[in-house]
């Protein structure tokens, strides 16, 4: 590269000009990355060594926040466990059900128009609205689900009010809004070259084998994409759980604030990011909340380092092609 540039000073000049243009176009975004990403990332680490309540100046307290986090915080592992539950169950369940629906639509040749829209639409409903709707549907007293169950002589469970069923209830919500990944799967399924199926059929492959040897290899990239983005979304699972708790608890937040209902029932819906919110913006322990955030960063970063390269869309190579 250098040798070429030396031989052709004109090219080097045009390269420099191009770089200037590029950075000109990128300037606002670069500034944004620094102010809204790089700086707060570093500041989070700094804050995590302090005690800070916004009212008085931050005080350096060394590793005290981390000591509390790892050895004394009574709920951080409950919160981490709940988040892990969503990562391990919500993500695969959504992927599998979305894939099944997409395959059904594809093989029934209903991959566009009404049917596709019908299954996609719930994903568009604002999450707050869909959560409120689900808590209503499953409310133990007058909810349609338990009313219908009662009609069949079944005493319905407490759903969002039962610590054991609150997370599975959100799983049902997660399935209802599977449209976002279903659409991607559908597009990928339709992109599978038909000749491959025909060839497999000539070889006498049955349905399962066709899926295993033709469909699957073709849609692996989308599956990985859905997995990576799904895990990332599950790590930051917040709105659905917070709103479900607030609505299901039926408690008026008369004077305490949002932090009061978070986790209901019995911390079953307390996710890690909500715990950051409670400690940071309900208890105003901003230093400690930063320590929690740093731990989340480490976990998320490890995950990204492991998996980012496997998603073609997230790697930069092609830009240079």
């Amino acid at each position: 590269m250098t040798a070429v540039s030396e031989l052709r000073p004109g090219l080097r000049r045009s390269q420099r000009r191009r770089r200037l243009t590029a950075y000109g176009m990128l300037a606002p975004a670069l500034l944004g990355l620094v102010i809204f990403f790089v700086y707060p990332l570093i500041a989070s680490v700094v804050f995590s060594f302090t005690r800070y309540d916004l009212l008085s100046d931050p005080q350096w307290i060394g590793l005290r926040n981390y000591e509390y986090l790892f050895t004394q915080d009574p709920k951080v592992w409950i919160a981490a466990g709940n988040t892990l539950w969503f990562v391990l169950l919500l993500v695969p369940v959504r992927i599998v059900t979305a894939l099944l629906v997409a395959m059904l639509l594809a093989s029934a040749r209903r991959a566009s128009g009404f049917w596709r829209t019908a299954f996609y639409l719930p994903a568009l409903v604002p999450p707050v609205a869909s959560v409120v709707a689900f808590v209503f549907l499953f409310n133990p007293g007058t909810g349609p689900v338990n009313t219908i169950l009662r009609f069949f002589g079944v005493q319905g469970p407490l759903w969002f009010n039962d610590p054991a069923l609150a997370k599975p209830s959100l799983l049902l919500l997660g399935i209802w809004v599977l449209g976002d990944i279903m659409i991607i799967f559908l597009a990928a399924l339709l992109d599978v070259p038909r000749e491959q199926y025909e060839a497999a059929e000539l070889d006498g492959a049955n349905g399962v084998q066709r899926f295993r040897y033709v469909t699957l290899p073709n849609i692996v990239p989308v599956l990985v994409f859905a997995l990576v983005t799904g895990v990332i979304a599950a790590l930051q699972y917040f709105t659905e759980a917070a709103v479900a708790s607030a609505v299901a608890s039926g408690k008026a937040t008369v004077g305490e604030g949002a932090g009061q209902t978070i986790g209901y029932p019995d911390d079953a819906l307390l996710t890690y990011t909500q715990w950051i919110y409670v400690r940071g913006f309900s208890n105003f322990q901003l230093g400690y909340a930063s320590a929690l955030a740093v731990l989340l960063f480490v976990v998320a970063a490890l995950f990204l380092v492991l998996l980012l390269r496997r998603v073609k869309a997230f790697t930069p190579e092609e830009a240079q092609g």
């Binding site: 700086y39 008085s56 100046d57 005080q59 005290r64 926040n65 133990p140 007293g141």
Partner: protein, 440 residues
């Protein structure tokens, strides 16, 4: 934007290492201003009907001070109030629903030290009861004044009481349990139809703070650390409560509670007659008058365990508190409004009549204008009763009550393990979080 970044840089670089700067002793004018003018903002947590009551008193203040405009922000819970004060929003006077924030707000300076104002204007603090005076200061700093008190007692549905063959409210928990079991009826499918008393911790006002009164259990030691494990009274009430829960069945109670109406709505289970007896605050009398005027009920002090019957007559006393925010741009106006809301007899009586909260000044209590129903009188007696208790201010706010509530919740489900170990665990959780906010 640039300025803010520079500010951050300064904060991160310099003040991280700076020593703790406590609330500064602000200078105030030697005399109160003769004429008040300007705009003052009032942030409070009330909403709907209760907000209207506050507004009516604010209107009176504006009438008395024609050049003053009060900018009212209703529905502001503690979380929002603290956000607004920390962010330097335009908050002059803030009213919180509970005393829990006093510890944090006094020590951090979120609420200003009222001492200089009180001294200058010669406000007589002895007009407040000892309890309300105590929970509005922290470690010697008075940063708040009581804005009415809440007292908690026992509400009893007289029709259900009579139907079960009783003519008086229970005085001991043993009595309460026996009566409650008799009042409880079931649906054909085995689920609860009417519940005599809901023993579940966490239901409506079944808070550890109310249960504490049944045995006179204490929360904190003098140094602010937890006393829960060291006070044997806690174990007594926990054991009684769990035994009661088990008699009906945790799952059954849980199913019933999940289907109950929201506490501050017209569907409150006591108001609809689904619950015969419950712990509640004096404000419930106003909700009943508004939403269930035909309900036939009486009120009584919190019952005690028979072994603690000498403590009978009291209840849990807490209250709303008001203070002047750190960033108040017009502290004199804020002080005038706060003083009016907390010490003007006409204002206190009007607030009390409207909100059905207990007035906190002696003059207001003695005022002939104070409307007192028999049910409400119980709570005025509770406020005056020496057996009544409150929750001490702490730097962890209500954190120590939450720690207790969390363990209690496990305990009533049978997941609490050994009670002594469990309560020691509560001690540790409270002391750990205290040391996190207090420092080494």
């Amino acid at each position: 934007m640039k300025r803010s970044i520079a500010a951050i840089a300064a904060v991160s670089a310099v003040s991280l290492l700076a020593a703790c700067s406590g609330p500064s002793n602000q200078e105030i004018d030697p005399t109160a201003p003769a004429h008040l003018e300007g705009t003052v903002s009032l942030w409070h947590f009330f909403s709907d009907r209760e907000a209207d009551v506050i507004q009516s008193v604010v209107d009176d203040f504006e009438k008395a001070n024609p050049d003053v405009t009060v900018d009212v922000h209703s529905g502001q819970d503690d979380e929002k109030l603290q956000k607004a004060i920390s962010a330097g929003n335009n908050v002059d006077v803030g009213i919180s629903y509970s005393t829990d924030i006093v510890g944090a707000f006094c020590s951090s300076g979120a609420f200003r030290d009222l001492g200089p104002y009180i001294e200058r204007d010669g406000v007589d603090l002895s007009q407040f009861s000892d309890t309300t005076a105590s929970y509005t200061q922290f470690e010697g700093t008075r940063c708040a004044l009581p804005v009415l008190a809440d007292a908690y007692g026992l509400y009893v549905n007289d029709d259900l009481l009579a139907a079960a063959g009783y003519d008086h409210a229970p005085k001991t928990l043993e009595e309460l349990e026996e009566m409650a079991l008799k009042m409880t009826t079931y649906n054909p499918d085995g689920s609860i139809k009417v519940l005599g008393f809901n023993p579940l911790m966490g239901y409506y006002e079944n808070t550890p703070t109310n249960w504490a009164l049944t045995v006179g259990a204490t929360w904190l030691k003098d140094d602010g650390t937890s006393n829960i494990g060291s006070d044997p009274a806690w174990a007594e009430v926990l054991q009684w409560q769990k035994a009661f829960v088990d008699k009906i069945g945790y799952d059954k109670l849980q199913a019933f509670s999940a289907g109950m109406g929201q506490e501050f709505s017209a569907d409150n289970a006591f108001q609809t007659g689904a619950i015969a007896m419950q712990f509640d605050g004096e404000y419930r009398t106003a909700f009943i008058a508004d939403q269930a005027p035909d309900l036939n009920y009486e009120t009584a002090p919190i019952p005690t365990l028979a072994a603690h019957s000498d403590r009978y007559g009291g209840g849990y006393v807490t209250g709303n508190i008001g203070g002047i925010a750190k960033g108040s741009k017009n502290p004199e106006l804020a002080w005038a409004l706060l003083k009016y809301l907390t010490t003007d007899t006409a204002a206190v009586v009007k607030l009390s009549n409207g909100l059905k909260n207990a007035p906190t000044t002696k003059d207001a209590l003695a005022s002939p204008d104070l409307e007192v129903s028999p049910q409400f009188q119980t709570f005025l007696d509770i406020v005056a009763n020496p057996n009544s208790m409150t929750t001490p201010p702490s730097k962890v706010g209500a954190g120590y009550q939450q720690a207790m509530g969390d363990y209690w919740n496990k305990w009533q489900q049978g997941d609490g393990g050994d009670l002594t170990d469990g309560l020691a665990g509560v001690d540790k959780a409270i002391n750990d979080s205290l040391s996190l906010v207090e420092g080494p």
